[in-house]
């Protein structure tokens, strides 16, 4: 028999945490700081709205773009919160999570051989999506020295004549880094000068603790060359509902829409109904969760530094990204040994790209009680491995 697996499928790497995943499943009493999703359940009014809609027979396809009232509500909210303006009927698609949004965005703009700059460390799907579209991912490392913000000089070094797209994600998974307006300004100039397109994944935009989120498309002249991706998973604790959205200038949006209608048709209607309830009436619950993350962040990051894992204060998302360099272990050894010895799950930073080496991602989206216990175990772990 022929080898039926495509070269492209072979090229993309398997998940970097499979081994950890399997190991953790065999263990008792694991405290997992490895999960990239809120520990809260979806606020109940959101669930009720969806349940009611199903009871009323709301189980059919929606239009390709998604429910009109949802797009309008998103457009209003983006305007009110970030000063973005996107036409809900021409410049927006409701996607099946930001994952799909990223995929169709990349496929809409990347031709074989195009170079796509990817600010790393970052979510694991960016480079594989580029590869699957025939593009060439070019990592642009963000370093701890810069608090994991994208450094304009480093970006400049990676730009070639074939560069077409830059993908960024701030607030960042896994580092919690935030790019404020002044930081984005320098990037915006480079993007414009080199005639690049920006894909900005802003799914953590509601989770910022020091300043209000700056949407990339509001900086300089970026709007006409930016695809903004966002979604409901993180802010509204709605990961399993799979609802995101893509906003872009009309021609780019139409190109993405063609791909969306063939591969997805539409995002799940139950999730869209839930998202509409969330954006209309979920503000208070969302704010309550954000307050809680902030409190946990303060306690957790302070504790990490106290036990000897140096960690900058992350300004957004729900991740701390401490360095494990002082332990003498690399990030993979650290994560593996910590899991085996103390049953605490963290994710090795190198999974998120070169820039993440010697760091581990700890999601503080777990209860305060678990966070406290995790710190006790990590402290014991560190002192038992100290020389």
């Amino acid at each position: 028999m022929k080898d039926f697996i495509s070269k492209r499928a072979k090229t993309i790497p398997p998940s970097g945490i499979r081994k950890f995943f399997d190991l953790a499943l065999t263990m008792e009493e694991v405290i997992s700081l490895g999960v990239g999703e809120p520990d809260f359940c979806t606020p109940w009014n959101i669930c009720e709205a969806s349940i009611y809609s199903i009871e009323q027979g709301g189980t059919a396809y929606t239009s390709n773009r998604g429910l009109q009232p949802l797009r309008e509500a998103i457009s209003d909210s983006l305007g009110k919160n970030y000063g973005l303006s996107y036409d809900p009927d021409r410049e927006m698609i409701i996607t099946t999570g930001v994952s799909e949004g990223l995929d169709i965005a990349v496929r809409a703009v990347v031709d074989p051989g195009d170079e796509v700059l990817v600010a790393e460390p970052c979510y694991v799907s960016y480079s594989p999506c580029v590869t699957l579209a025939g593009g060439i991912p070019v990592p642009v490392p963000c370093s701890g020295k810069d608090h994991f913000r994208l450094n304009p000089d480093v970006l400049m070094e990676r730009i070639t004549a074939r560069s077409k797209v830059l993908i960024i994600n701030f607030p960042n998974n896994p580092t919690g880094a935030v790019m404020r307006r002044e930081h984005l300004k320098a990037i915006a100039d480079i993007v414009t000068d080199h005639d690049l397109l920006l894909i900005s994944d802003e799914v953590y935009s509601e989770l910022t603790y020091e300043s209000r989120h700056t949407a990339a498309a509001t900086v300089g002249d970026l709007r006409e060359r930016t695809i903004t991706l966002n979604g409901f998973s993180k802010a509204y604790a709605m990961t399993g509902w799979r609802i995101g959205y893509l906003c872009a200038p009309e021609d780019i949006c139409n190109a993405a829409l063609k791909i969306h209608q063939y591969v997805m048709l539409c995002a799940p209607v139950m999730g869209q109904v839930a998202a509409l309830e969330g954006i209309r009436k979920g503000e208070d619950e969302k704010d309550r969760m954000v307050r809680e993350y902030r409190v946990r962040r303060n306690v957790f990051v302070d504790s990490l530094n106290r036990i000897g894992l140096s960690c900058h204060l992350p300004e957004g998302a729900f991740y701390a990204f401490p360095s494990v360099e002082k332990t003498g272990m690399n990030d993979v050894e650290f994560a593996e040994t910590l899991l085996k010895e103390e049953h605490v799950a963290v994710v090795p930073g190198s999974v998120f790209g070169e820039g993440g080496k010697n760091h581990v991602r700890c999601a503080y989206a777990v209860s305060r009680k678990e966070l406290k216990e995790a710190i006790v175990r990590m402290e014991r772990f560190i002192s038992s491995h100290r020389g």
Binding site: S15, I17, F20, F21, A24, L25, V30, S32, G34, V35, G36, E37, D39, C41, Y123, V124, N173, R291, V295, N298, V299, D302, A345, V347, V351, F352, R368
Partner: protein, 163 residues
């Protein structure tokens, strides 16, 4: 009362047993300032007490609780205040509120059994001047108290890793 005070109250309402240092980190204040602010909130009567939320059914003490609605003729010059003051002095009365609707006052009363509650109502509450009508609702089961669910739900399975 400023935003930090409100934050401290929220933190305390959720868990009043945290150390000053922990609270300081959470509220982004110095431990000393937490101390002074809490003292002021106690002094000012904003913080009334520190208690625990207890599922008494589970504790199995066999006590019975009831909600009692009262129709009351308000008093000239005092309204409901004086009768509320008298009612609130009974140890059996755990909470007392003035409410809108058909009834005026709503009490929560506890006792060793139903008979004890019935006796308390008929001997002390109903005969009081100005009380026109009582309606006693024995509590059969408490599902949620002070924001805490008493239902033993299965905790949802969470995968150990997701990126």
């Amino acid at each position: 009362m400023d935003e930090k005070d409100l934050l401290i109250l929220q933190i305390l309402e959720d868990n009043s047993r945290l150390s000053r240092d922990e609270m300081a980190l959470m509220a982004e204040l110095e431990p000393d300032e937490i101390e002074t602010r809490i003292a002021a909130l106690e002094e000012g009567g904003v913080i009334r007490n520190y208690t625990a939320v207890i599922d008494w059914d589970k504790a199995g003490n066999g006590e019975v609780a009831a909600i009692i609605d009262l129709k009351v003729n308000p008093e000239r010059d005092y309204g409901y205040d004086r009768i509320a003051d008298r009612l609130s002095r009974f140890r059996q009365v755990k909470s007392l509120r003035l409410v809108t609707g058909v009834y005026d006052l709503q009490l929560m009363v506890t006792g060793r059994n139903m008979q004890e509650i019935a006796r308390f109502v008929s001997e002390y509450i109903a005969p009081m001047d100005r009380i026109r009508e009582t309606a006693t609702h024995i509590i059969m089961r408490t599902y949620k108290e002070y924001g805490h669910s008493f239902m033993d739900r299965e905790t949802k399975e969470r995968i150990p890793y997701s990126l």
